[in-house]
Symmetry: C2
Amino acid sequence: FVLCCLSGAMTVPDPRQREALMQLEASMQTGGRMLLTDAERRLDDLLFKMKQKEVMRPDFPPAMHFFKARHLIRTSQIFQLLQQMPKGAALHVHDFSMVDVEWLVKNVTYRPHCYMCYTDIASVRFIFSSQLPKPLPRCSPWILLENLRAKLINATELDNSIMGNLTLFTQQDPDTVYPSQDAVWDKFEQAFLAVWGLVTYAPVFRDYYYQGLTEFYMDNVMYLEVRALLPEIYELDGSTHDRTWTLKTYQDVTRQFTAEHPDFFGARIIFTVHRGINISMMTAVVEEAMKLHRDFPDIMAGFDLVGREDKGRSLWYFRDALFLPSERGVTLPFFFHAGETDLEGTEVDQNLLDALLLNTSRIGHGFALLRHPLARSISKKNEVAVEVCPISNQVLKLVKDIRNHPAAVLMSENHPVVISSDDPALFGASGLSYDFYEAFVGFGGLGFHIGSLKALARNSIRYSSLAPNQQEKVLALWQRSWDKFVSENDLF
Amino acid sequence: FVLCCLSGAMTVPDPRQREALMQLEASMQTGGRMLLTDAERRLDDLLFKMKQKEVMRPDFPPAMHFFKARHLIRTSQIFQLLQQMPKGAALHVHDFSMVDVEWLVKNVTYRPHCYMCYTDIASVRFIFSSQLPKPLPRCSPWILLENLRAKLINATELDNSIMGNLTLFTQQDPDTVYPSQDAVWDKFEQAFLAVWGLVTYAPVFRDYYYQGLTEFYMDNVMYLEVRALLPEIYELDGSTHDRTWTLKTYQDVTRQFTAEHPDFFGARIIFTVHRGINISMMTAVVEEAMKLHRDFPDIMAGFDLVGREDKGRSLWYFRDALFLPSERGVTLPFFFHAGETDLEGTEVDQNLLDALLLNTSRIGHGFALLRHPLARSISKKNEVAVEVCPISNQVLKLVKDIRNHPAAVLMSENHPVVISSDDPALFGASGLSYDFYEAFVGFGGLGFHIGSLKALARNSIRYSSLAPNQQEKVLALWQRSWDKFVSENDLF
Ligand SMILES: [Zn+2]
Ligand SMILES: [Zn+2]
């Protein structure tokens, strides 16, 4: 059928042939061949009507910077439906940006023994300590927040200023505040360092992760794969726990949370390391990753590098370390960030191909994949799913209008993709729903429908690191929530 | 070879296999398999070095709005080389935006009998007349420019203000001046109307077209296909000439110019009509187009619709009129604008498929083609080239960063494309070189090379409306200029 019609041209208008071609094209997209129940069809009619209204808005949210669009999205009926929708899994989320920064300020910084200092570049650092901590270089003397707040009539201003240091989100014009990729990445790194002292304190570390699971669970996400640095975690007396302790804590908290929430399936950890380290450090880290993967097969999903690709070292630079597992015949699944760049034709731009040569299980971002037709074919043929994080790519200035995001093209051809949120707290988002909104309304326009959403949710389970029998279980769990969601929104 | 390697993964680092895959991918792009002479290789080395410097700039021109980037581009060595380069043909250029507006102001408005009035929305209108013309509705009384200028000590300010009305280009921040697509299209239409009274005056009409050919010729373009409205042209006494006269005038001036410039090949006209008209008008226009194509086969290349797609009627709306030629077995080649939109999944978004069903010879813009995998396959299989106009798409707010332009993807897979400039005068550009710069540096980054440029120039001849034997002639003429260009820039 495809071949017959690829000649294209008609000699007279033939509405039926045209309709058939339009349907053929529509069927090629993600979820384009999804079978729908009658109730799903009715919900789809509702969604279509909502979308027709949304597309006609002069202030179309996917065309705007997320910081300016967020309040519009929040009042969108489509968004509210997407929040309720069981979205499956979040497969690309980082350890210390899972939780709304308001919780960090209002809960964590109000705990006893919390010290703060101001750096000389107008950021902040934190530490919990039973006694006055040693001063940090390039930072003001430590201030005990308890004492500081006791002196204030109203702590709102202080709290807001702290909050502004923990996220990129701003009420001001984002393009003025962050005029370049360098500027926005600088702030990214400062916010990360500001959060660090709070979340690596043992009691907070547990609570933060629990709270993170809660936020995703409340957003109707049932399973997570968290990219985690597994840092040393400290206690009030300055003593520290090693990486194994950190991983075990993730395991404990996950088990606890799952036990308390039977419709939640769980979480796994992708151990990550910064791409700025040197080769011998990388070799040691890969060795440790292999060991952790052997010792904690349940919780430990695999390995990845983090940090800005454009400024960091390439995968090929670390090839000897990264090929260690396969040379030894040891399994260590990779989930590489690759192609989060618009540097075309440079060494960094080869990360996509190199990730595939390293047999990566998925590709983080893959923003540059469209410009790499060979890498794209391999990714499609081998079902190496692309973890698409639209808001992250927009905030980090790779694309302005979400409609021009390359994943719109990938999804038009049913390339294996999942939608994720990367660092929702840093971007002023939470859970998955905002990114689902951008994907559903921005990538697809009127062309995406409930089949697209179903396919995205199912993809997130299918392309997870879970073993096939576990995937079956998650899928069954998801199907139950999905059916409930559809029937609850069935107004007929 | 492709199949063997699509498995991707290695078990140990194999630099040779990696290199082979990288080269395979590079060979897939436009010009990726072009054979190069030694002199071309040396020029390519030079280009590569220039590009390495260009890519490292913090103010990377393709990432910026063209209005802000223009002065940077002008001083770029790559741009200066591209200006000298024989670029072949300009296949998507509109009749009344070929000539720098400075020429209109400094030459045309200084001619005798030139009247101007100010509209109530702060635009201007012109007319040449032997006596005081009848007043225009919603416009000030007519002012004879000769009289007005005689009263001024210095006309520079007046001339600059007139110039600002004839182009979208501005020294102010373009995103402030044109905050939305609606705003920029409004100004587009006002500028078009302002130019109208100048260029439809018979003596100016001839001179304007001659000057347009000159500007493209000076920019090392050797052949043009001009989309022309073929309007009634008026004389000083108010009498008018019909469409046939206008087409004949194009033919005469083209012949004259070609005779005077033996290394210029010529030009053909694509008759265009606004997509706002009704069906019976469209039927009449298509009838006339068939007649003109029969009577003036040399100059008349075919037919197209113009005007903003998002607000105009769709090709399918006009299907009965547009299928007339094929129903009657009459040849009328189509060169449809299609997919110059980011409205996804709407009726307008079907123009791409409909253009192909109408057997279009090329696609104007095709900005939305990537989101239409079936239309994309048909376009590739049938070699229906896409006329890519990067600066136009950026100024009209379809894409902000040229690196995200869909043609970067099309060219990475050697989709048939040509580069053109649409309305260079309206965008503050001229000829083809600025758009070649955006394509070469922006689409390709470090990955495009002299083979890409050669392929683009050759594409512009191969996908022209010229008969095969004429294409051979142009190609031979182009090859001579190309060899001269390469040897002149051979510094070894
Ligand atoms: Zn990430
Ligand atoms: Zn055009």
